[in-house]
């Protein structure tokens, strides 16, 4: 096992796949010569050359359109959208074209492509560079959606996404880029659509994603020590496909569900999970479902405001300890 940062795991995952398969190409803004604005793709240009690692103009529709056209005709592109907020300027290509073309053509069109993007808060960039928009993607039929929380998952899920025949949107949490973690040596390929149980408790099941996984784990420690509440923590990892088997089983085991979401309240992914649990696991529940989300507001930028907007460890501890006895 080597220790890598979340950021280095991005480059490691892309490099592993480019090494293996010549059809894999990588494009985006500032990704080649500059190594990415988050320095997550440093070294790829030197290793694979300008034919395969390409800087693009600030043209998100062109970037994703080009990735789509290439995927339809035999390549396996990885496209970077610098900030997930910018998906809004190329959402037609994602939601109308990439996601739907296979279905509309009755299976004629192939679409093996990956879109990577930096998502989420923690960098004080404000409402147009710090949003969590994974819920936008989750509601579009035809696109797979993953959001890794650990360096090993970054590498493994990028590899799995590149090898998948369907379009996959990977949300990297930008404040996790410096985080270090163990990454398996040698080839590492994960599986899409699998949640992971990170700890088991008996009083409630917390379902979290990306940065919120770390806050859920920290909160679970405090809840155990200071409030005598023991929590199961599930890292969802993949919103589409969704591992409802794991989530249903773990919620049934504790009788309580808590979702912790960085996306704003309305139509957050936790609402879908809550709906599934209410529908299929109602009689196993011992109390109401708890959703902890960012409020339904645009994200403010000042550190004090941002810290009091997205769910914090303190808020998670408070809400769970007040509502679960």
């Amino acid at each position: 096992m080597a220790e890598l940062t979340y950021r280095d795991a991005v480059a490691a995952g892309i490099a592993q796949e480019m090494e293996r398969d010549e059809r894999v190409v990588f494009l985006g803004e500032d990704v080649a010569h500059a190594g990415g604005v988050f320095k997550a793709t440093v070294g790829l240009l030197d290793k694979f050359g300008e034919k395969r690692v390409r800087d693009c103009p600030i043209s998100e529709q062109a970037i994703l359109g080009a990735a789509m056209g290439a995927a339809m005709t035999g390549l396996r592109p990885i496209a970077e959208i610098m900030f997930s907020d910018f998906l809004a300027v190329c959402w037609d290509i994602v939601a109308n074209e990439i996601a739907k073309s296979r279905y509309m053509t009755n299976g004629q069109v192939q679409m093996p492509l990956v879109i990577r993007t930096a998502n989420g808060a923690g960098s004080r960039f404000g409402a147009q560079h710090s949003q969590s928009v994974e819920n936008w993607a989750m509601m579009i039929p035809g696109i797979k959606v993953v959001a890794p929380a650990f360096p090993a998952d970054v590498k493994g899920l990028i590899a799995a996404a590149v090898r998948d025949e369907d379009p996959v949107l990977i949300f990297e949490q930008k404040s996790l880029y410096p985080m270090k973690g163990e990454v398996p040596d040698g080839e590492h390929v994960d599986e899409l659509g699998k949640a992971r149980v990170l700890r088991r408790g008996k009083d409630c099941t917390i379902v979290a994603l990306a940065l919120m996984v770390h806050r859920a784990l920290a909160a679970a420690e405090i809840l155990e020590k200071e409030h005598g509440i023991s929590c199961t923590v599930i890292d969802v990892r993949s919103l589409v496909p969704l591992d409802t088997v794991t989530i249903l089983a773990e919620v049934a085991a504790t009788g309580r569900l808590v979702t912790i979401e960085e996306n704003p309240r309305l139509c957050g992914w936790g609402a879908e999970i809550a709906s599934i649990i209410a529908d299929e696991c109602f009689w196993e529940l011992d109390g109401p479902i708890i959703r902890i989300t960012t409020p339904h507001i645009p994200l403010p930028s000042a550190d004090r405001l941002e810290d009091n907007t997205i769910p914090s460890v303190e808020r998670i501890v408070r809400e769970i300890s007040e509502r679960i006895d």
């Binding site: 043209s59 529709q61 290439a70 290509i93 296979r102 069109v109 369907d166 659509g193 969704l242 409802t244």
Partner: protein, 342 residues
């Protein structure tokens, strides 16, 4: 180019740079596109086709010229006004009419409809119903061809209205910077849906006058002249195939019908349609072929064959069952299914 409505004298012989065989092919293909499109209109009137439809009546010379000029493994990307471009790559008429009628035999099994005709096996890589979306996608296919070294070319058709959307400009800049083998073909039929393009555009030629901004040549062609279109198509396809990069071609034409099924085209000034009908590409071409010495019987034979082809396709599509309901949950994903959870 002079876009006013008048006939131009064309020189040529049956054995010039185009030649008799290709001219007959161009004639036949224009007729196929015309008669199939007219049939689609008739089927609408009979309520056998539901939804919307955007006809290319009057614009056939452009699709036909490229259809004849392209290599079988080249890529076509077109818009929701794409029946002609899809047929021009060799998609079956039964598949096209069947899709319009929502039948099992449709190219897309009834899941796409008129605005999304696609036949990947023929290089018809899709009809796109969001204005401008397919220009970057065509650039991507061209990038793939360049990367794989296959000398394939992508041809992307769109209307004059598309030149005012961002994706048009993004795709042009991107394609020129990467020197991609892609030909962008603007079919300027003078109207952006219901509005004259001149009323909403800063330049006279909505595509060609923007070419200079992307370091491209200004190219305006008579889109109702199949020979002129064929020569232009061949020239720029050949150049792109050899690594010479993209071209932006503006083909002047006119649609004989309204924007879509819902539009009778009442916004057009009196007499405009009549003038353009005199410049009907098929009428022009027929007269030209006769002038070049091709005998009338050759043309009437072709006309009879194409009509029979359209009739047979119509009957086959009518006889086809509605699509199976199984299709609703098929092909969301590459595994053939629609599962979003385990």
């Amino acid at each position: 180019m002079d876009t006013s409505v008048k006939r131009k004298k064309t020189s040529g012989t049956t054995e010039d740079d185009i030649g008799r065989d290709i001219r007959l092919e161009l004639f036949r293909m224009q007729l196929e596109l015309r008669l199939c499109e007219k049939r689609a209109y008739d089927l609408f009137l009979q309520n056998l086709i539901k939804g919307t439809s955007h006809l290319s009546l009057g614009q056939e010379a452009i699709a036909a010229a490229f259809g004849v000029a392209m290599r079988p493994d080249d890529y076509t990307f077109c818009t929701y006004r794409g029946h002609a471009h899809t047929l021009a790559r060799g998609a079956s008429m039964t598949g096209v009419l069947g899709e319009l009628m929502g039948r099992e035999c449709g190219l897309l099994g009834g899941k796409g409809g008129s605005m999304h005709l696609t036949d990947v096996s023929k290089g018809a890589m899709g009809s796109y119903a969001i204005i401008g979306a397919h220009l970057p996608v065509a650039a991507g296919a061209a990038w793939s061809a360049q990367y794989r070294g296959t000398e394939q070319v992508a041809v992307c058709f769109f209307g004059d209205g598309t030149t005012n959307i961002g994706a048009f400009h993004e795709a042009l800049n991107f394609s020129v910077v990467w020197k991609l083998p892609v030909i962008f073909v603007c079919e300027n039929n003078l109207y952006m849906e219901y509005t004259p393009i001149s009323a909403v555009t800063a330049v006279e030629h909505p595509a060609a006058d923007r070419a200079a901004a992307y370091n491209l040549e200004k190219i305006v062609v008579d889109g109702n002249d199949a020979d002129a279109m064929y020569r232009t198509a061949t020239k720029y396809i050949t150049r792109a195939r050899k690594g010479g990069g993209p071209a932006l071609i503006e083909a002047m034409t006119y649609r004989h019908s309204g924007h879509s099924r819902a539009d009778p085209g009442k916004y057009r000034p009196e007499g405009e349609l009549e003038k353009w009908l005199e410049r009907d590409p098929i009428k022009i071409y027929r007269e030209r072929l006769l002038g070049l010495g091709i005998v009338e019987a050759t043309l009437t034979d072709i006309e009879g064959e194409v009509m029979q082809q359209v009739n047979e396709a119509t009957e086959a599509a009518k006889a086809s069952a509605p699509p199976s309901l199984d299709g609703i949950y098929q092909h969301v994903w590459a595994d053939g299914g629609a599962a979003w959870r385990n």
